[in-house]
Subunit: 385 residues, 4 copies
């Protein structure tokens, strides 16, 4: 098929953050093309934002409903293939539902929805429509995260016993939302963010990473979440004990008040025979630990890595790839899956390697379990989907 | 006073580990002299062990009782000043009690006693006898640990909100105790180790470090401890949620089954204005984090450090000091305090900076609270002394 | 101007490495569009390569001459704005000359030309044609490299005294070129690589980085270069003493036989008041050192950085950016400069911040000086342009 | 033999630095005893200094001559076994000569002597007297340095091709000697330090470390040394190209004006099959690099290390040992050798593993070659002993 995959964007107008990230991720490999957008609920702002991106005015829509309706009416060789959703959390479900039901694939920013109920509804919609649904749990896009997952799946670490996953940030250590900072604004607002703040925004990434790498499910958890900054409605810090379905134990903690921490998502997993350690802020290094042998330093792009890590890599060793490339890997695999659907062929393993609605539901269930547990003074609470 | 401070050792005969560490710590500064010992309950082994150390046979005793009795009978210019106790946990209290009551100061390996009851009894004995009692929570002997404490005390980080303290090891990931390894043997044996394994052996170091640095007390905790290795009677891993008396929250986890981890005690503390991070395995570096300024790297022995850090340092920057020097700082300060007592003068701040029976009681209370909480499925449990 | 900047590529067909990097760099920000290419001297391979990139067959040319001629004949709203040259070294000059003389701007992979003579000729051509010429000394595209330069320019480190710049790799530690590996093949071939191997391929990056950051020029050098792998015609390792025009001294060493090194370009600069240290393999961290204060850790994307670093950044702190983003910064600034030229406005400081032909000439002069010095047993040799 | 080895110290009175280090090193293992000293050329200061160390006044001498004479006259069971020399460089040779000729073993601080001529004379004296002579090139005392040496000796890295050894410090970046700082004073004074400043003080450590680890000899060198601080008589920075006797090449640079560097001696060695990297400021970690396998992280005290590293280790993994322990290893091995001499038995391999007069001569030859080369504008100069 000699054409790029086409997409339209919901959200991501001037002044937004994550929309720009999605566009870079889509641009990177030259396989995907932005053809339209509902960048803002203000039609003029949507047009202006689209003009910045060299889009024709007629494909810059004033609402996602308009976009979906008008794009659906375009000829097949012109209309978008999928919708990318980059709005705040409360606006994830409506456009996803509308797009899927209109026959478009959907790639959504995380968390999947505003609450667990919505995410379960989305499961049914995805199933019913048969369209593809991807979720940008982008940290799973890193090559060494894939390598860790593959090593554990292959049994190299033995049965997993312990998981420590952390996501410390410090940017909300003061009441930044009062300054008018847009990112802080909606993330600390229960109406737009959901039942949790820190836990919803970044705790879910930690949960997703732990389950992705280990292949295990969190069975139950005991959580103690806190809003440290006076007057803040949602948690800005949370500490969680974990029990996994295979008997492994763990700790998950996330924070937005850990002064001086930037975006240090990291994970350590220990099995009976070995362990791994990975830090998102130095993502091209993974420490691999053994019972009686020296620790090894796995590095992105080396020949000793497996095929999934290799497929997620664009440059040779120590030509560092980062956050945008990992994000782009979600887009790349999602687009490959769409190509297979269009071609009517079976997608390969790599094309299928992106987070889906099932991950989204588990993320929402995690948020609900954490909030419920914390309200019950850290009582053990099942993570049920 | 122109003489060295003299001590006798209980335990630490041939084949022991921690006894040798104590002797190096005592030797290091040339201020303290080993003059006698009850190195083993086997009198011949005690003599042989003492001979290795160039001690005369007549001061190598077959029991601590004998040592205390005979040393007490020696003239003042010859007898030991203090007793160093380096036996397994169940044998800490009896010689401590006997030595104190016979008029000797005591420097004991941690934990202070076998259980909380004993440690409370020891409080009374120390009080009653007026003798000095020190506890080798040696990790507080590091210069940068002292600097962290002093920075927090001076308010540089603002009100403390969050503490993450970890003590991962991997050496008990297999059933090493079955191999006859002596250190593994007693540490996994409830009769010699106490109510907890990993939590007693190393979790207490984490607890002590967190309280020492922050100046806070753990108010209550929720713990989930596990014996992962089949057939092991005591925990080899534990995850604990913490609540401090000032409202700060935290996580403490310790492990002896984290494959590939050596002895990586580490702590992060976050206040309203700044944070610190310190790792025992690179002890001469401390990261200091700020709201809007670049992270700083504090390094041992530099002129910008405070007087307590300076007093705990023997060499210039990047002439790395380590575990033995930190341990020696406990001995050094304890000996300085004894010198002050002998001289009848007031000890200075540095001489008083070593862990005491109060730390010991809190350690024992921590162990008991963790075990109790874990037995109650991680119910919040007060740490009461 | 509401359109993307358009470019055509010379080289970079199927199987090439650096061509793909250039395309990603051009794609990333959605400001630049690939519209044509002479991807291979084999016309069919050029067409196939272009088809992979969704280009129409009629704009996939069989030679750069054809491309330049036919594109020049296209209407202004369709033809390319600039040519990107990604061929081996011996094929840099001819298309650059042809493109410039046909009125196209040029962005070339480094080194600028095959030898110093060619690069001096290119200076004249650039001058005469008035077209823009950029050179992808991509490592100067990193935000913290720009910050280092700006700090030094502002005098924060005081007068510069010492520079240590290293570029160790290990990928040519064995005779890889004999295996048919394409990258190894041309780099070790004097006919395609030029007078130097390692020094030309990566030593020039080190030279460029040192001069870019310090704002100094290397005045003279004493070099000892070696071909360690038996049968290799060009150097695979080189050690160079440096003297700068302000009296500073330095060391530059580059290697392709340093087993286990990936691509560890790094630099340390020391002035009278402070120093900086930066490693390309962890490019989002820069150590800043002071006389009497703790070392600081500068991190990409933080508010304390200057405007040039900020302009070269796409994501928040610890959403790591890497090699491709740094590369893209060259493309981005070059395209901004072209936009200014098209608009007839003055480019801003950021748009001008990319390596130019002057850097290219210095790079070629460096190579010639190193080779000459080494042939004279490391005699001091001027770096003259 | 049931007694400690006894020594007397020359130098190291109140206010000195390295004397205290030697005493700690000697104390550490409880095998060596300070019995006398000529701590100062001022007899009263010598007595006062000795009193601080609990020595009887009659064994605190006013000169090394007096010490040697009077100690020689003491009965064998009382007199010192060896002399430790901790004076500035110009005072190394005289007491060494006197002690050896009086029948005492000598352990001297480095460099061995004031100049090459003296060191050659010392070779003859050592030979003639048959006494032991050790030199505290203490950095060879680190366990991982020994492991590196043993790995290379065993051929694990293949034929060595490249060596990079660095010794950057920053403490003399300003004219500290003018402030009265004692350490800065003699080190920058040609009368007390010798022909070189930085190169003599720390460059020799780098030279010694490179030769110790690789087992190679530097054949010739090209050096460019500089006194950056105005008015300083001796070099405070030096850059040196190296050629080894097996054809390997290298770079050595040392500096005392590299602002913010503490004491970062470090080395990288690359052979045909692998490489090692070690940094003195994190001495318990050594990176081991391979052609096609992940880098390994060797850590002190692990079971996978060889016997020489094990013999140089006192504590388990990540109970970090440092500078003082490495220093103590020189004392320990030297004392073991003395014990063997006393016992009339053959010393084992470990007892012989300390730097000797041969190392001292090479160090002095290195200094002279560097100075000579630099005076000849970095002409290649043989390192001849």
């Amino acid at each position: 098929m000699s054409r790029k995959i086409r997409y339209g964007m919901v959200g991501g107008g001037r002044g937004a953050f994550i929309g720009g990230v999605h566009r870079i991720a889509a641009n990177m490999d030259g396989q995907i093309e932005l053809v339209c957008g509902a960048f803002s609920s203000d039609p003029q702002k949507s047009k202006d934002s689209g003009a910045d991106l060299y889009l024709p005015a007629e494909r810059c829509y004033g609402s996602f409903e308009e976009m979906i309706q008008k794009e659906a009416a375009l000829p097949a060789d012109k209309r978008m293939d999928f919708v990318s959703i980059v709005t705040p959390n409360h606006m994830h479900f409506p456009p996803a539902k509308a797009a899927l039901e209109a026959g478009f694939h959907v790639l959504s920013d995380k968390p999947a929805t505003f609450d667990l109920t919505e995410s379960k509804a989305l499961v049914d919609i995805v199933k019913k429509t048969g369209k593809l649904y991807g979720l940008t749990h982008n940290y799973t896009g890193y090559p060494l995260v894939k390598e860790a997952r593959d090593m554990i799946k292959a049994g190299k670490l033995g049965k997993i016993r312990k998981v420590v996953v952390e996501y410390p940030q410090g940017w909300l250590a003061t009441k930044l939302e009062d300054s008018g900072q847009k990112q802080a604004g909606w993330r600390t607002d229960p109406k737009r963010s959901g039942a949790a703040g820190c836990i919803g925004d970044i705790g879910t990434h930690a949960e997703n990473l732990a389950e992705y790498i280990t292949g295990l499910h969190i069975k139950e958890l005991a959580a103690d979440i806190t809003a440290f900054v006076e007057g803040r409605a949602l948690d800005d810090d949370g500490n969680v004990l974990l029990r996994f379905d295979n008997g492994a134990k763990g700790v998950l903690h996330a924070s937005q008040i850990s002064v001086g921490e930037e975006n240090n998502l990291n994970i350590r997993v220990y099995g009976e025979k070995g362990g791994i350690e990975w830090h998102q802020n130095e993502p091209n290094t993974m420490l691999v630990k053994w019972l009686d042998q020296p620790m090894q330093v796995y590095r992105t792009a080396n020949g000793y890595l497996g095929k999934n890590a290799a497929a997620a890599t664009r440059t040779p060793p120590a030509h560092p790839e980062g956050y945008l490339e990992a994000f782009a890997n979600i887009y790349k695999n999602f687009a490959s899956h769409i190509r297979a659907v269009i071609a009517g062929t079976a997608p390969d393993e790599v094309a299928l390697d992106y987070p889906k609605i099932g991950d989204g539901v588990r993320g929402m269930a995690f948020i609900e379990a954490v909030v419920k547990s914390s309200q019950a003074n850290a009582a053990w609470t099942k993570l049920e989907v």
